[in-house]
């Protein structure tokens, strides 16, 4: 283990030890701290752990709940469901989002579906199988206890949503329909046409609005969280900017929950909403919350390719398309014919060829990397050469156009609208894009971060998906956290409250507000020559190039240097027009980009130190002979939780070892 104690990452075959580091840029990227552990999950049989934890957790008497206040930042599936549930239980809840309505949270965009171990199909599904698939899908980098709990409550989610009136797809018999999704051989995915996230979110949003009307939840839409207030060792409040008036406000509570979503926008181009950001999580990180596995990002294989350098975001085509669409490129890179004119024998259905058992349904990371590989070989299609065909000709022949239309009509329309091409006639063109971030703030089994009183749910935490997330599992996790997990575990913390009242005059609050106002002032006063977006775009290019689908030691080192320079340039040369006293969208973005510029570096450091390929993280140096990912369980079977020490300073790595008692670790194989 000597190697692990070194303060900087060294390549596999380089001799280790500080004295060997002569490269000029080989400053120490991080230091190693004490290991950490999740101390809340009980041991024993995995089926009993969640019940046991719930039983062991302290309860709050209903009469006392009114005296306890909760701040929840984020109104996506994770935040809205938690706010509604906690409001209903009688706590005083304050809910925040940056959009003009809680219903517009990014969860609204999820298309494909939500998993649940209902076994309605009698196809051998079970809680254990969902647990197993998730651990395996996560490439053995997630916690068994958490994942099992997720699988366990998944069935309740469907019940809850149906009761709320979520219009899931149904069969003629009136019962719920399910389909298989993303590399899984059972049909456990519930869906509402291509708008599952929307319907689930509206269910949670409506429950939230009900509580708002009842007075248990106060909603603050168009409020951007810019700082966390940690007073006397506990998270006690937040500093927000009212995006319409520009006013900086403080809000206090007994506990703070972050449900602020993922940070995929660090890549500038991603399938995330324009406003998706890391600011809330990053500010908490700076205040002491560990950031876990930041390098684990998921690249989704089926997105609409980039069309020009003005491109502002990428649009996902639901993965369910891979159930019936076949992916191919021409065998020869020189082929310039229209797709329909290329005869069958001159097409390369490369996924079916390389992965006969799973074919087009291999997990996302494999499908994405394979697409990149064929494009790198020069066989990509479309004007940019960065695209592969997703072809429905066979499906239309087999099922009829009507059936295909019924299943995918809205996705086809969306594609046609964006590209101006008709996917019924010519195959779609797709290319991978950043889609989901498995990393996030470190939390224990109770979803509590390393700052007491700061809980983190949904995509913002790192908890359940390991190094790679299965399709249709993010929605499940968001709702599991919000409806069923957090409301139980947060009570254990709140049972010790209410905590001593604090207000604006508390030094911690004063400090947090000053930090925010200083930052806003600083951003406005640089008055440089480059727009915020130009920095964001450049950061995105660096991240995509060096910390995207494939990472290498050399590339990552280079990227870290580039990001540092870019960050410096940003603070010297950014141009933010307008003032801080009203709606100023450039200012909003500037603050977010500033945080991305810090996060990007940490992602690269994390990617650099993890000298293995696992899940969404593919290290060029760690592959098998035939180019598949090679994991190193002996060295890297841990969660990397990073502690912040200062901008541009070495972060401290805390390892949480992962122990597998119920699932045997295997190299993934989808051959």
């Amino acid at each position: 283990m000597a190697e692990h104690e070194s303060t900087f990452p060294v390549s596999e075959n380089a001799p280790s030890g500080p004295e060997q580091q002569q490269l000029p840029d080989a400053d120490a990227y991080f230091t190693l701290g004490d290991p950490i552990a999740d101390t809340k999950a009980p041991g024993g049989p995995i089926e009993a752990r969640w019940s046991e934890r719930k039983f062991g957790a302290k309860l709050v008497n209903p009469a006392n709940r009114r005296k306890l206040s909760v701040i929840i930042v984020g109104t996506g599936l994770a935040g809205a469901s938690a706010a509604a549930t906690l409001g209903e239980s009688g706590y005083q809840v304050k809910s925040f989002c940056y959009q003009d309505s809680p219903r517009r949270a990014h969860s609204i965009a999820a298309q494909g579906g939500i998993n649940a171990a209902k076994n309605y199909r009698n196809d051998g599904d079970s809680t254990f199988r969902l647990f197993y698939d998730t651990v395996k899908g996560g490439d053995y980098r997630s916690r068994e206890s958490n994942v099992y709990r997720l699988a366990e409550v998944s069935a309740n989610i469907i019940d809850q949503c149906v009761a709320q009136g979520v219009p899931f797809a149904r069969e003629y018999g009136g019962l719920l329909d399910t389909r298989s999704f993303g590399g899984v051989q059972v049909q456990r995915t519930f869906y509402a046409r291509g708008q599952t996230g929307q319907q689930l979110l509206l269910g949670a949003y409506q429950a939230l609005e009900r509580q708002i009307a009842a007075g248990t939840v106060t909603m603050y839409a168009k409020h951007d969280m810019l700082e966390l207030v940690v007073a006397d060792g506990r998270a006690r409040g937040i500093v927000v900017r009212d995006l319409t008036t520009g006013e900086i406000e403080t809000h206090f509570a007994d506990v703070v929950v972050l449900a602020t979503g993922g940070y995929g926008n660090v890549f500038f181009l991603s399938t995330n909403a324009m406003g998706s950001n890391v600011t809330a999580a990053w500010r908490a990180h700076r205040k002491g919350a560990y950031f876990a596995n930041p390098c684990y990002t998921q690249i989704h294989p089926t997105c609409i390719p980039v069309s020009g350098d003005y491109q502002s975001k990428l649009t996902l085509m639901s993965e369910s398309l891979r159930n019936d669409g076949r992916i191919w490129v021409p065998k020869s890179g020189e082929d310039t014919r229209e797709a329909r004119d290329i005869p069958e024998e001159e097409r390369d259905y490369y996924l079916e060829r390389r992965y006969p058992a799973f074919g087009n349904l291999v997990p996302r990371d494999i499908a994405s990397r394979a697409a990149k590989a064929v494009c790198d070989e020069g066989r990509g299609v479309g004007p940019s050469g960065l695209g592969v065909y997703l072809d429905f000709a066979d499906a239309i022949k087999r099922l009829g156009r009507k059936a295909v239309e019924a299943k995918y009509g809205n996705l086809f329309d969306m594609y046609a609208q964006i590209t101006g091409e008709d996917p019924y006639e010519t195959p779609m063109r797709i290319y991978p894009a950043v889609h989901y971030t498995m990393g996030g703030l470190w939390v224990d089994y109770d979803l509590q971060s390393t700052i007491p009183g700061l809980f983190v749910t949904g995509e913002a935490n790192f908890s359940d998906h390991g190094a790679n997330r299965l399709g249709a599992s993010a929605l499940m996790q968001g709702l599991a956290d919000g409806y069923f997990v957090l409301p139980n575990t947060i009570a254990d913390y709140l049972a010790d409250g209410p905590f001593e009242k604090i207000d604006d005059t508390h030094p911690a609050a004063v400090e947090a507000v000053t930090e925010v106002t200083d930052r806003v002032q600083k951003l406005l006063s640089v008055k440089g020559t480059r727009t915020v977006d130009s920095f964001h775009r450049e950061l995105g290019q660096i991240m995509w190039e060096y910390c995207g689908m494939e990472r290498s030691e050399e590339g990552l080192r280079k990227a870290i240097g580039m990001i540092r320079e870019l960050r410096e340039a940003f603070w010297n040369d950014v141009l933010v027009p307008g003032s801080g006293n009203d709606l100023n969208q450039s200012l909003e973005r500037a603050g977010r980009v500033a945080d991305f510029l810090e996060l990007g570096e940490l992602m690269c450091v994390d990617a650099l130190h993890r000298r293995e390929s696992c899940g969404g993280h593919f290290r060029a140096e760690s592959q098998t002979e035939d180019g598949e990912a090679l994991r190193h369980d002996d060295e890297f079977a841990y969660v990397a939780a990073w502690e912040f020490t200062g901008t541009g300073q070495q972060p401290v790595l805390h390892k949480e070892d992962l122990v597998y008692e119920f699932v045997e670790m295997k190299q993934r194989s989808y051959k």
Binding site: E88, Q99, D100, S101, P102, R103, R104, H106, I108, A109, Y120, D159, Q160, C161, V162, A163, Q164, G165, P167, R170, Y172, G174, L176, A192, Q195, Q198, Q199, Y205, Q206, E209, R210, I212, M219, A221, T271, A273, M274, G275, G308, Y310, Q311, S312, K313, T315, L316, M414, Q417, I418, G420, Y483, F484, T531, D533, S534, L575, P577, G578, D582, L583, S586
Partner: protein
């Protein structure tokens, strides 16, 4: 292609606004309308001017954030959200007039951004099914006819963009309200609150200052989600029923 934008500029809620003309050269037809505005905004920023305030988030037609009047058509010439509108829908040399949604219930915040929180309050008034967390019965205990489920889904796809209000000559939010009333009213789970739901939502709708619907149908013609006109009749029917039954 080159275009001329005439765009509504209004510095704040209580300030007079005006149309400003901006020439936009070298527009790619593959750009979305919002990407074209991004480019304009970058330029304005570099010229030391204030960029145009316009809201968007998902940019894939589902969050309902974006939404402006383009040539007096809500969301512009294509029946989709503004983020899904591409410049290929315009012609070279065209002048494009862009204005915010206008309705008494949607005050302008800045430039093209309006406040649509009235929608949230309509939902809060009754647009839900009371199903406290954890109390739900097994999902398969209540089968729903596929036709009803599909119809409910069609109504449930509303994204609260507000185009219906912006297009309605009466400034009515009846289509938005009706979509939710229909979605929940068609499902067995929604029956217990069906009467009170429609009454409370309509009361809130009126309180917010939306106009009354006179069945003109402009709303359905611009609705990016194709919420059918039937929903308005359904709302009327539910409302009459609730009034007659004295719910």
């Amino acid at each position: 292609m080159n275009i001329t934008l005439r765009v509504w500029r209004q510095a704040g809620p209580d300030v007079e606004g005006h149309m400003e003309t901006i020439e936009v050269p070298d527009v790619s037809e593959h750009m979305s309308f919002l990407e074209m505005i991004d480019v304009v905004n970058d330029r304005l920023t570099l010229e030391g001017k204030e960029p145009i305030a316009i809201d968007s988030d998902c940019r894939e037609g589902i969050c309902g954030t974006c939404g402006v009047m383009i040539n007096r058509q809500a969301h512009g010439p294509v029946r989709a959200t503004v983020c899904q509108l591409h410049m290929r829908s315009f012609t070279d040399g065209e002048t494009i007039d862009v204005e915010p949604w206008r309705a008494d219930a949607f005050p302008v915040v800045k430039d093209l951004v309006v406040d649509r929180s009235a929608f949230d309050r309509i939902i809060a008034a009754g647009g839900y099914i009371s199903a406290p967390t954890g109390s739900a019965p097994e999902a398969h205990s209540t089968p729903v006819k596929k036709a009803d489920a599909d119809h409910a889904f069609d109504a449930a796809t509303c994204i609260a963009c507000g185009a219906c209000v912006a297009a309605c000559p009466n400034g009515s939010a009846m289509l938005f309200t009706a979509a939710k009333v229909t979605h929940l009213g068609l499902l067995p789970q929604g029956q217990p609150e069906r009467g009170s739901r429609v009454l409370n939502m309509i009361n809130q709708h009126d309180e917010e200052g939306f106009g009354g619907c006179t069945n003109i149908g402009e709303c359905t013609a611009v609705c990016p989600k194709g919420i059918p006109f039937d929903t308005i009749s359904q709302l009327n029917r539910d409302m009459l029923g609730a009034l007659l039954r004295g719910e």
